[in-house]
Amino acid sequence: MASAPSKQYSDDVSVVMVLLDTNPFFWSGANNTTKVSFSSFLNHVISFLNSVLLLNQLNQVVVIATGYNSCDYILDSSTSESINLSLGNGKMPALCSKMLQKLEEFLIRDEQLSRENLPTGITSSLLSGSLSLALCYIQKVLRSGRLHPNPRILCLQGSPDGPEQYVAVMNAIFSAQRSMVPIDSCIVGAQHSAFLQQASYITGGVYLKPPQLDGLFQYLSTVFATDLHSRSFLQLPKPVGVDFRASCFCHKNTIDMGYICSVCLSIFCQQRKKCSTSDTKRNSIEIYNHHLLPVAASG
C-alpha cells in the first residue's frame, strides 16, 4: 500500500541559505592575506547563486549578509519582486542588481552601527546572528505548505571566529542538527574556523577551505551545489580534523582545559566559588578537558 504522500519534493529540490561574510575589517585587508577582492568574491558567489537556480525551477536561494554588528536578508529568490524585475534595466539582471543594492544599504547601516561602538580585539562577524536568521527562515519553509524543498545552509566565512559568540553559535548548530539541516562551510579567510568545523561535523555538512581562491566558483559548483540527494553517492571533501575546543563563559577565551559545572555544563577558565550561570556551589564544578568531552560539553 502506498504510504501517505511525503511532504518533500522528490530528489533534488533545495533551498540554499547562503551566509555571506561582509565584515569590513576582513575584506579591507588587515586580515586579508588571501588576495581575493570583495568584488571578485561576489562575482563567484553570484554565478553560484545563478547556477543553483538553474539546476531546478523550484530551487530557492536566500542570501543573508553577515556584518560586523548586524545581519540581514539581502536576497530571496522566491519573492515575486525578484522575478518581475528581471527585465527592468537591460544589462544588469534584476537578481543581482537587487541584491547588490540591498547589500550596499546593509553595509552603510552596518558601518553606522560600528561608529557607535568601536571595535576592540578580534574583529569577527556576527555568525551566530545570521545562522539564527537562516534557521528561522528554514523553519518557516518547513512549516508552510504541503510540499517543501530540502533546506541547507552554506556559510561563506572569511573573518575569524568570535569566541564571545560560542554559546549562541553552538545553540544554532544544535538546532540545525535537530531539524536535520546540514551546514556547509567554505572558508575564504586565512585561518580555519573551529566553529564551522564543528557545525559541519555535527550537522553532516561539508567543510572546505579552498587552497586557491581564484577558482572559487569551481569549488562552489563542484562541492556546494550538490543537492542532498546526490551527496549520498558522490565523493565529497571529508573532514581532516575538527577543532572541538570550547570557549569559557567567563572571559570568552578558547580553552583546552578548564572547569565545568556539573549541573548546567557551563565552562570556565578559572576555578570559582560559585557557578555564575546556575548558582551551583563550587564543589560540584569539575575539570573540563575537551579531549574527554568533545561534543557533550554543549549538549
Binding site: M1, L53, L55, D227, H229, F233, L234, Q235
Partner: protein
Amino acid sequence: MPQVKIIAKNFMDMVAALPTLKLDKLYENTFICEAVLRSLPPLAKKYALQLLYIEEPVTAKSMEEWVLPDGFSKHRVAIDRLIQLRVFIENPDGFSRKKETSYKLNPRFQVNLQNYTAHGGVLPRESMSSSITVRLPTAEELDSYALEQWESFLLQLISSGQIEKTTTSFSPSMMRIFQQGLVSQRDREGPRLTESGFQFLLMDTNAQLWYIIREYIINSEDRGVDSADLISFLLELSFHATGQAYNTSTLDEVQRSAVKDLADLGLIKLQQGRKESWFIPTKLATNLSVSLSDSSSRKEGYVVVETNFRLYAYSTSKLHCEILRLFARIEYQLPNLIVGAITKESLYTAFENGISSEQIISFLQQNAHPRVCDRAAPSVPENVTEQIRLWESDLNRVEVTPANFYDEFPSKDVFEGACDYARDNGGLLWEDSKRMRLVVKAEIHTLMRDYLHRQK
C-alpha cells in the same frame, strides 16, 4: 506519480532522437538548454555544471573517481543520458587519438549556460505593459479557465460520438489523431475507450498533458511544421511568467498557429485588445518543464471512500463524474457532490475494459480528499482496497492454455505410455483412464505425435 516521469522522459527521448544537426540547432536557444538541463537526473545536472567552465575534455576514468562505489549505476545512467541528449560529446575531435574515452560539454550548450550563470535567467520575451492590456485575469480566474478548457478537451476526446457543442477548434482529423490508441472506433457501437484510453483518464493532468503534447508534436510533420520548432516553442513557453500578457506579434508563423491549438488545451489564454492581441500563459504551460523533472503539481483531491464501499466526490466537474463512472456506480449527482458506490458489477466492467485494480486504487489514493489524507488511517479504507484486489483475482481464476485432445487409443498400454511420456515432458494437463482420453499442452504436440507414430 511515476507516470509523469515515464511520459515526460519519453518526451525528452523524442528530443534526443532528433538528428544531430537539429539538436545542435535547438541548443542555440538558451531556454532549450535550460529545460534540457533541468530534465536530467540530479547527478547528470551536477556533472554538466561541474564541467561548465572546463574547456579540455575530461577522461571517463577521472569522472568515475567522483562517485562512491554505491553510486556507480547512477553514474552510468547520468553519463548515458548526457550523451544521448548530446550535452556531453564523446571523444571530441583531436582528442580521440588517445585510447581513453573522454567527454566534453557541447560547445553551444556550454556557452549558453555560462551566460546564464553569469547574467542570471531572463524571460523569453517582454511582457506587455498594463496600459495596453486593460484587464488581465486574476490568478484564480486563469487557473479555472485552464482547468475548464482542459476538461472540456478531455470530455470531447472521450465522447467524440456525442459532441454537444464544439468548444475546441481542433479539426476532426486532429482530434482523431489524439484519439488514436485511446478510443477505438467501431462503426456500429460508436466510439469505445480502449485499455490505454482508460489508463489515460486515470493519469494526473501533467501526464495527460505530456501525452497529448507528444502526439501533437509527432504529427506536426504531417502538417508541414518542423517538430524541432514546436519543441523549442513549447519549452520556451514554460519559461514565461504565469498570468503576464505577451504580445502575439512577437511570434512567428509556426508559433502563431500553435498558440491557437495550445489555447484550446488550456495552456494559454488568448485575449484581444483594441489593436493588439496577446496571450497569457496559464499554470499548465509553466508547469510543463517543471514536471519534466518533478511531478509537484499535486492537485487538491476530492474523493472520499467509506468502509461500506460508498464513494463521495466533492466535485462539480463532469469529467470527474465520467472518470468515476469508469469503475463505480454513480447513484446521484448533487450540485457539488457526486455520490456513488464501488460494486462488484461496476468493477467487473472496469476490469473488462482493461483497467487494473492497482490503477483504481492508486487513483483513489491520489485523489483522496484532503480531510481524508490528513487522517492517520489510510486514505482509502483497507477493506475496500483488499476487496478490489480480490474481485480482480476472482476474474483470473480461469487460465487458458492452448492444448490438444487425444482420443481413441488402440490399447490401454499405448494410452498409459502416452500419458507417461506427456508427464515426463511436463505437458500433461488432464487424463481420463477409463475412456482413454488425454489433453496435452499444444507446445509438445509434435513430440507427442512422433512418439505415437513410433508406437505403431
